[in-house]
């Protein structure tokens, strides 16, 4: 079973990375970029096939490890 956990910064939290990338895109001549926020994805392969169980497991993983819930949100998607 495959799943993807996407971790993004909460809105309002400073994103130095996004800011630097924004600037770099502009100086590369890529116009029209108003804002960039950088996040992470984790592509995870799991043994076992119970969708609901896997989802619960990954929420736990995100809470405990993959996301820093003080400043980040996450989203779990089981791809089957």
């Amino acid at each position: 079973m495959k799943a993807r956990v996407t971790v993004t910064l909460k809105s309002g939290v400073l994103d130095p990375q996004g800011k630097a990338i924004e600037g770099a895109l502009r100086s590369l001549g890529i116009d029209g970029v108003a804002a960039v926020r950088q996040g992470k994805v984790f592509d995870i392969e799991l043994d076992g096939g119970d969708r609901a169980k896997v989802e619960a497991l990954l929420k736990q993983a995100a809470d405990k490890l993959l996301a820093n819930t003080v400043i980040e949100n996450y989203h779990v998607e089981v791809l089957g």
């Binding site: 130095p16 990375q17 630097a20 990338i21 770099a24 590369l28 950088q38």
Partner: protein, 233 residues
């Protein structure tokens, strides 16, 4: 030796590098701002120093590799000019396509600052003529992403052509996973391009050029370069 040291926002070892170039060649290098389109006339060595260009925010060296000055460096290298990239400089050279491969997070995912031992694989390059082949030198590393990786074909080519110049080793010169602090493939610490005129390396020879501060093991690289360039001139 007319060295040019590139300065990108966020670079922080440019002063260390400039001091070392001055100490070892007797000549003050030119500091070249990243927005420049040309290198100073007569430049015979380009140094891309260490640091955290652009905070290393996207991928290490990625944003700096796309600065205007790097076009000039590419041209300079294509004409056979000598280019040395150290630490972030190595990462920038890889990102700019001047060297193959990438530098990933250290295997233990932590930043590591310590002295390591390097085996100098060849002494017949302008960068290593100050050393003997097989010599072991002690120089510091200070990086979080120095784990060199490339695809199998590239590694085979690098090894086959003798383009691996420095390897992490034990004090006795043995290549041993225990002494490969960042997990680099084949313990690779430094490589050259196929022309042999562009060197990228993770360790900081520029921080070991004085007996009372660390050691003098890094001197060979700079002294060798100065000599090579004197001969060429």
């Amino acid at each position: 030796m007319k060295a040019a040291v590139l300065v990108f926002p966020g670079i922080n070892r440019e002063r260390d590098m400039a001091r070392t170039l001055r100490l070892t060649s007797g000549r003050e290098p030119a500091m070249v701002w990243h927005t420049e389109h040309d290198l100073p006339a007569g430049t015979d060595l380009v140094v891309v120093p260490g640091g955290f260009s652009y905070g290393d925010y996207l991928r290490c060296g990625a944003i700096a590799a796309r600065s205007p000055v790097m076009d000039a460096v590419r041209k300079f290298a294509a004409g056979g000019g000598l280019v040395l990239g150290v630490c972030n400089g190595f990462q920038i050279l890889c990102e700019s396509g001047l060297l193959p491969g990438v530098l990933m997070r250290n295997e233990n995912l932590r930043f590591i600052c310590r002295d390591v031992f390097l085996k100098v694989e060849r002494s017949d390059t302008p960068f290593t003529r100050g050393y003997n082949a097989g010599q072991v030198v002690r120089v510091p590393v200070a990086h979080g992403e120095g784990n060199y990786i490339a695809d199998g074909e590239t590694i085979a080519r690098l090894e086959g052509d003798g383009r691996v110049i420095f390897r992490y080793c034990g004090p006795d010169g043995m290549i041993d996973p225990d002494w490969n602090h960042n997990g680099a493939l084949n313990a690779i610490a430094g490589i050259v391009n196929d022309g042999g005129n562009v060197l990228g390396m993770m360790p900081h020879p520029e921080n070991h050029v004085e007996a009372d501060i660390g050691s003098t093991d890094g001197r060979g690289l700079f002294a060798g370069l100065a000599e090579a360039l004197k001969k060429a001139a």
